[in-house]
Subunit: 275 residues, 2 copies
């Protein structure tokens, strides 16, 4: 039998109740899409994880070990999502960093979320979330375990027709969707929000940026987004999703969106079947 | 043998690795000081916990059950701190709220932190932290599990002579210390920062507010704090701590601080022995 979850390399389903990941959200995670044994964005995930460990002053991850464990938990799964959680480990009461931290490592396999084919073809309907993301440059960009803002944002709606929500900061600058990064073509220019004050810098976003070096990484106001000619989302788990509407505003599925969906297939993803 | 930790009422030391407390910091905690079987601020802790559960759309806690469990884990301990952690429970991958959440409840007993008598007598030395707290009104005031800002703040210094750090927001408004709330006498007026945009509204702070109804709850700039004639901290675990210095600025231990320390003894706390 294949273990679908490994905790510090051992088949297990629990972690210490004293773990700082639980106590303070003191850690990081990555959600990684695999097709069979291939994870096309693996190196980008590992790059972000290592960079974030450095920012949080956590020991660097052993990426070879993580790869071995990701392969073990997904064995015989044609399509999977691996969540890797890395925390600062067990600690005593109190915020001070442990003198000799021993990180906790959870590697678990899931079936990919069921995203209807229609969303890849015709696009996702979105709304603007009421919550405004707080600005914290020291945490911005990282996929850390402090995600209450996303939980509250996602709790704002239950209508299954709405696939995603736009998150803005307190100055009505668009930052991202709740589970994905966002791109827009505004006045003929491809643009994605800067993420130096809030938001998560997704690995799919990094792949899009590498594919289109001319993208502007800049402020994107809500007004500018409503005036965009093309809008799409990037997600390491779901790939490239066209956006068909934001509230009352409709968007066509654009050329760049289609090109990137093709790029994703070229990378080895098969979203329409697996996701 | 007495269990020092209960997970959902059962002697255990682990929680599910799928718990949303670990995945997203999706939950709350309380750190409660007991002297023998007495927890003088218990009802304030339970009030905050219930109010925060409502804000996070979590089921209300069973406070009778929590009291029973707090008594069980601290049995035969003359002095203790009980940490109660309440999460939204086990969830699938994704931020959306579970349809029928079954919260996870961790109740664990610790020995109180060793605070030197000298600090109660002569005061704590403090520094101003570099990190600026992000402003998120929807999370402000709660003792939730998203505490990376406090972890980063506490990691800024290792000098054991410095007992605490002042946390400001991005407008250089003083909010609190890293583990305590802060009060200052400025131009003869007792003042504590408003916590509607960031910070944790401590139960010891609530006790101080109830004791001195004339306190101003308002903005406190860093400049005003440096010009204060008396500064002290409140903590549910450590009680009332005078502040003797902030960087180069020295403060005398003031009258209100001494009165509140006496009030804390009257409540049944015995900080100098136990803490």
């Amino acid at each position: 039998m294949t273990a679908r979850m490994l905790v510090n390399g051992v088949a297990a389903e629990q972690v210490s109740a004293m773990d700082r990941g639980l106590a303070y959200g003191d850690g990081l995670f990555e959600s990684i899409r695999l097709v069979g044994t291939v994870a096309p964005l693996w190196s980008r995930h590992m790059h972000r994880l290592a960079a974030s460990c450095e920012r949080l002053r956590m020991p660097a991850p052993d990426t070879t070990q993580l790869w071995r464990e990701a392969q073990e938990v997904t064995r015989d799964m044609p399509h999977s999502v691996v969540r890797i959680t890395l925390t600062r480990g067990i600690g005593e009461r109190g915020y001070a960093l442990p003198v000799a931290p021993r990180p906790t490592r959870v590697v678990v396999a899931f079936a990919p979320p069921q995203t209807p084919r229609q969303i890849y073809a015709q696009g996702a309907r979105m709304r603007v979330c009421d919550i405004r993301l707080a600005e914290q440059p020291l945490l911005a960009g990282m996929k850390h375990l402090n995600r209450l803002e996303q939980v509250l944002a996602r709790a704002e709606w239950s209508d299954p027709v709405i696939a995603e929500g736009v998150l803005c900061d307190s100055h009505d600058r668009v930052i991202s969707a709740t589970m994905a990064n966002l791109f827009a073509v505004v006045d003929g220019e491809l643009l994605t929000p800067a993420l130096d004050r809030c938001g998560v810098a997704g690995v799919a976003r990094a792949e899009v940026l590498a594919t289109y070096p001319q993208i502007q990484v800049d402020e994107l106001t809500l007004d500018a987004l409503l005036g965009a000619s093309e809008v799409f989302l990037s997600s390491s788990v779901r790939g490239i999703l066209p956006v068909r509407s934001l509230g009352e505003r409709d968007y066509p599925v654009g050329e760049i969106t289609r090109q990137l969906q093709q790029h994703w297939r070229n990378l080895g993803f098969t979203m329409e079947q697996g996701g």
